[in-house]
C-alpha cells in the first residue's frame, strides 16, 4: 500500500472526572485535560506498525477540530506518522460537530489524499456514536470492517483480513482495499512517543485546512438539548430475610 490515512480526535482525557457545565449545555471543557481519543491512539499505532512491516509507505494523520487539535496531531507525528492534516473548525467537537459532518469532511480529505486504507478509532469517548467509520465507508462506496481486533493486509495490498469483535465473540472478514477500518481495544497497545520521534515531530509537515472551505454542510442534525450527571448512587439496603430480598428484587429493582 502506498498510503494509510488515520483519523485522530482530541477529547477530554479518559481519566478525567468530567463535570457538567453550570448551564447544563454540555460537559465543562475549560481547564480540563485533553488527550488523543484512546481508540484513535490504537488506530495510529496500527498504521505505524503497517509502515514498520513494510506494508505501507506513508502514514498521514488527520484531525478535525480547533487550533489545539494540532497538539493531538503532533502526538500522532511523535508516534511515527509522516504527515498531518488539520481541518480547522471551532464547532464543539464533542457535541456540535455531528458524525455525519465529520464523515463528510473525512470524505473530502480522502478525495484529496487517495489513501489505500483509512483507519479510525471505533468511537470517540465523548460522543460514543461509533458511526463515523461506517458512514465514511458508505459515502466512499468502500468496504468496511469495524471493531477490528486484528488486521492483516495481504502482501499484494489488494485485500485485508480483519478479525472483528462481536457481541457473541469474534468474526473474521476478508475485504478488498481500499477500505475503512475502525480500531477496537484489543487491536494493539499503543507505544509511548519516544524522544527522537518527539524531536522529529516538530519538523514534520502539518497542513491546515478550513472546514468551512470544504463544501460540507456543518450544521448539526443532532442537537444536544441538555446534559446532566448521572443520579447520585443511593446507599445500599440490608434486607432481613430471603423473602424480603425476593420482594425487593421483584417490586423495587424490577429485575425478576
Amino acid at each position: 500500500m502506498r498510503k494509510v490515512l488515520v483519523g485522530v480526535k482530541r477529547v477530554v482525557d479518559y481519566a478525567v472526572r468530567v463535570r457538567v457545565s453550570a448551564d447544563k449545555s454540555g460537559v465543562e471543557l475549560a481547564n480540563t485535560k485533553m488527550s488523543m481519543n484512546p481508540f484513535c491512539e490504537i488506530a495510529v499505532e496500527e498504521a505505524i506498525r503497517l509502515k514498520e512491516k513494510g506494508a505501507a509507505e506513508e502514514v498521514v494523520a488527520v484531525s478535525i477540530g480547533p487550533k489545539q487539535a494540532q497538539e493531538t496531531l503532533r502526538s500522532a507525528l511523535a508516534m511515527g506518522c509522516d504527515r498531518a492534516i488539520h481541518v480547522q473548525t471551532d464547532i464543539r467537537s464533542d457535541q456540535g460537530l455531528n458524525p455525519l459532518a465529520i464523515a463528510q469532511l473525512l470524505e473530502k480529505v480522502v478525495e484529496k489524499e487517495s489513501p489505500d486504507l483509512v483507519i479510525v478509532g471505533k468511537q470517540s469517548i465523548d460522543g460514543d456514536h461509533a458511526t463515523t467509520a461506517p458512514m465514511l465507508a458508505e459515502l466512499l462506496g468502500w468496504s468496511q470492517a469495524t471493531f477490528a481486533a486484528r488486521l492483516d493486509v495481504a502482501a499484494d495490498g489488494a485485500s485485508a483480513e480483519v478479525e472483528r469483535e462481536t457481541d457473541a465473540g469474534t468474526e473474521v472478514v476478508k475485504l478488498p482495499l481500499p477500505a475503512v477500518i475502525s480500531a477496537d481495544l484489543r487491536l494493539n497497545t499503543p507505544r509511548y512517543p519516544k524522544l527522537p520521534n518527539i524531536m522529529k515531530a516538530k519538523k514534520k509537515p502539518l497542513e491546515a485546512l478550513e472546514a468551512a472551505d470544504l463544501g460540507v454542510d456543518l450544521a448539526p442534525t443532532l442537537v444536544v438539548t441538555g446534559v446532566a450527571p448521572p443520579p447520585d448512587r443511593a446507599a445500599g439496603v440490608t434486607v432481613e430475610s430471603v423473602d424480603d430480598l425476593v420482594d425487593k428484587l421483584k417490586n423495587e429493582a424490577a429485575v425478576i
Binding site: 482525557d13 481547564n31 502526538s75 524522544l195
Partner: protein
Amino acid sequence: CSRVLEGVDACAPYNTDWMRKWEGRARVVAEPASTEEVSAVLKHCDRRRLAVVPQGGKTGLVGGSVPVHDEVVLSTRRLDKIEGLDEDTGVATCGAGVVLADLDAFLRDKGFCAPLDLGAAGTCTVGGNLATNAGGVRFVRYGSLRGATVGVEFVTADGTVVDCAGTPLRKDNTGYALPQLLVGSEGTLGVITKVALAVPAAPSSVGVAWLACDDFGAVRRTLRLARTHLGEVLSAIEFLDLPARDAALRAQPDLSDPVEGGSFRVLVEVAGSDAAHDDEKLNRFLEASAEAGAVLDGVVAASTTKARELWRVREGVSDAMSNAGFVFKYDVSLPPARLYDLVDEARARLAGFELDVAGYGHVGDSNLHLNVCDATGYNAAVHETLEPWVYEAVAAAGGSISAEHGVGQCKPDHLHLNKPAAAIDLMAAIKRTLDPNLILNPYKVLPAAAVGRPRGFPLFCADDERDDE
C-alpha cells in the same frame, strides 16, 4: 469515649504496623468521635498514668503508630469530618482522621488538591501526615508540610484542648507557632485532632516523561536541566536503579519498561494550568537533556492513563520489595554528589549474602530510599552488617538518617548522629513540659536516656482501675 474495643482479637489489627514488622500487645483501643472525647480519654489516661499511642492510618514505616507493649491505642479514625474549604484563601479544614486521598478527592472537586502525595494516600490520615511531617513525591513542588500547615487543634497529655486552628488564614504571627511543634512530633507531644491546611489549585494539565540515564552523574545532570528548563512547572522528579525497576515490574506483570539502556530510570512530572505551555517546556527540556547526553532514551506519556502506568512503576517499588521477603528500609538524605554511593557501598558490604539491594527515591529532594531484601527472611548477620553502619555512614557524609519517615521506635538510639546533645536535651525538656507523666507514645522518637522516666514507672494498663467513660 463512645467507642472502645477490648481484648486480644478486637485489638489485633491495631497492634501490628502495615509492614508487619512491629507488634504490640495493646488490650484496649479507644476510637473517639470528637475532640471532647479525645480530651476525656487523655485526661483519664494521664490521671492513671496509662501510656497512649495515637494512631491514624498506621502506614508509618518506623513503628511509630503501634504499641510497643500494652499502651492504650487512641485511634483518630473517627475524627473524619472534612469541615470545609475556603476557596478564596485556599485553606481547608478537616479532622485529623480524614484519609489523605479523601481530602484530595474533595479538594479536586472544587479545583484544588492536597499539597502532598504519597503511595499510602489511600490509607494514611492527614493528622498522621502532620504528625510525621510527611514528604512524598510532590515535595519538590509544594515544599514541606510545615509550610502548608496553617493551624492545628490538638490535645495535650492531660486532656487540655489547644485550639490553634481557629484562624484559618495564611498569615497569623501571634505568638509561638505551637502547630509547628506538633508537626513532626510523631504523637509524642500531643494528639492532633483538627488540621487547617493551605492547599494549592489543582493543575489542569499534567505531563510525565520517563527517561533512561547512563549513570548517577547523568541523573544529577538531568535534575539540573529539569530545574533550569521546567522551573515552576516541575512537580515531581524521581529516580530508580534497575533492581528497583525490576522489582516493581515483577510485582506488576502488566507493566513494562518503555525505554532501554542505562543504569537508571528518571520520572519527570510537570503540572500547570496551560497544557501547550507545559508541553513546550517539557519538549525543550527533553531536547536539552538529549543534546547534553544526560539522557539515553526517553518517552512521554500522551494521556493521563499512560502517565499513571509510568507512575505505577515508580510507586510499586516499595511494596514489591516488602512482599519479596524481609526488607530493611532506609530513608536518608545525602548530599547530591553522594546520594547513590551509599547503595554501591551497601552492595559491597553485603556481597557475601544473596540479597536484592535497590536504591530509588526523590532525587529532587536529595532523598534516597535504600531497600535491602532477603527472600529467605530475617537474617541477623545481614542486620548487623547494615546497622549501625548505614546510619553512621550517612551521618559521616553529612546526611540525615531519616529524611521523611521519622524516628518512631526504630531510630531513637541513633538520633545523636544527627542532633547534638544540647538539641536532644532541649527536646526532652519540651517533652517533659508538655507530657510530664510521659504517657504519649513512649519509647518513640527521643532516646530513653534523655527523656528519663515518669514518676511511678513502669507504666501499666490497669484493668481494675478503668472507669466507664
